[in-house]
Symmetry: none
DNA sequence: ATAAATACTGTTTATTATATCAGTGTTCAT
DNA sequence: ATGAACACTGATATAATAAACAGTATTTAT
């Protein structure tokens, strides 16, 4: 969210405190008087700018038509999904709980269960619409159905792969034509470990400081 | 506290829910219209009685000068993002608040502000990694920076487009090579309307009943 | 039964607020 | 140094809103 200038902040705060106290917003004239402006247009133009930056919403032609857009508090202890680290770039270990952050998303949205999140590095799943930088939501489980996408641990590296299990081998397939498949005979099956099942992604277009 | 009559309760509740939704109280005329009264005085006398019983406080002569005394739990609602409908398949109107659901995600994750969600229909933004069925998170704003992706209303249809504004025209570009661009000279600029800025997506791989 | 409180209609007027048009400096990044 | 965003003044039109006055039914509690 674009930052307010000092003056804009003061006006925003005045509106917020007025709203708190009276339960309705001030009029433009009331704001003008508080700041000692000689013209209401000073207020009008400020409000327009504050609205453009997304902090308030104006209702055209309505008296006191100022709606404060609430800034959500980041400290709520709502249900959330732990972000464990990056995939294809290290070993995410939930036992250590050394997560960088929690995503403020209810696990219910992704079907519940023991969910965690991993930031996707690289283009290996691009054809499944999973891009570099996306946050993959994973449900912790040791086995997945044939053909499903899973987070798997190969050689101490976590990656997203589509998993195919036949009677005599295990195939890990990237969703990217330029990547080759991995195939493991059953005897080497223990070289890989399934961390969990891919349940979806969250993509934040501009970094919000969460990652 | 003396009890309100049925009618008074209904009016009080209407004011409370209006206040909840808009963050400012209704005018007497707005109350009149909602209840279908032929006269504003019906409202006036009701308000006077409700005030006498101590449920509201009126500010004489002030527009929307109604203060709720029994504060409705404004803080009971968990932060979430309203899902307004589908994009490229109808007109999402937040004024009507006819959302199908709320996504249990904190708006903070997508930078806060007045966020809403739209389900993406079609392949028009496939090259930006936005796929059919994804849920786009949009922040309500009237203008976006050049080259940003926005939800725009074209001919009463909402779509996601990358917006380019030059001195003499407005170009809407799909992120899909098989789609052609829309170009509007400045004179026709008002044919389109920007609903908000694209902030990211959420993709639930298996339907969770949220959509 | 009857007064008091409630639930309204109808009309007019005064006041409150917002919108619009036309400007002037000032700051700030390129 | 030059435009763009910011921070204002000033005047006027118009819409939005509340207040006031004068009533009529209906319900509710004595």
């Amino acid at each position: 969210m674009k930052k307010l200038t000092d003056k804009q902040s003061k006006i925003y705060e005045f509106i917020a405190s007025w709203q708190m106290k009276k339960s309705y917003p001030p009029t433009q004239a009331e704001i003008r008087d508080h700041f000692g402006f000689g013209s209401q247009n000073a207020v009008r133009s400020h409000l327009a700018l504050i609205e453009r930056k997304g902090y308030i919403r104006l209702s055209l032609g309505k008296a006191r038509g100022i709606k404060l857009i609430q800034i959500p508090n980041l400290f709520s202890k709502e249900p959330s999904i732990p972000l464990l680290g990056s995939i294809a770039a290290g070993v995410p270990l939930w036992e250590e709980q050394n997560f960088e952050d929690h995503l403020p998303i209810s696990p219910a949205l992704f079907g519940g269960g023991e969910l965690f999140a991993l930031k996707v590095i690289g283009e290996s799943m691009i054809d499944a619409g999973i891009r570099n930088g996306d946050v993959a939501i994973i449900r912790r489980q040791d086995v997945v159905d044939n053909g499903e996408i899973a987070a798997v641990l190969i050689d101490h590296e976590a990656t997203l792969k589509r998993v195919f299990l036949s009677s005599d081998s295990l195939i890990l397939k990237s969703e990217n034509a330029t990547f080759k498949n991995f195939e493991y005979p059953m005897s080497e099956k223990n070289l890989i470990r399934i961390l969990g099942r891919y349940m979806g992604i969250v993509r934040m277009e501009k970094n919000r400081g969460f990652l």
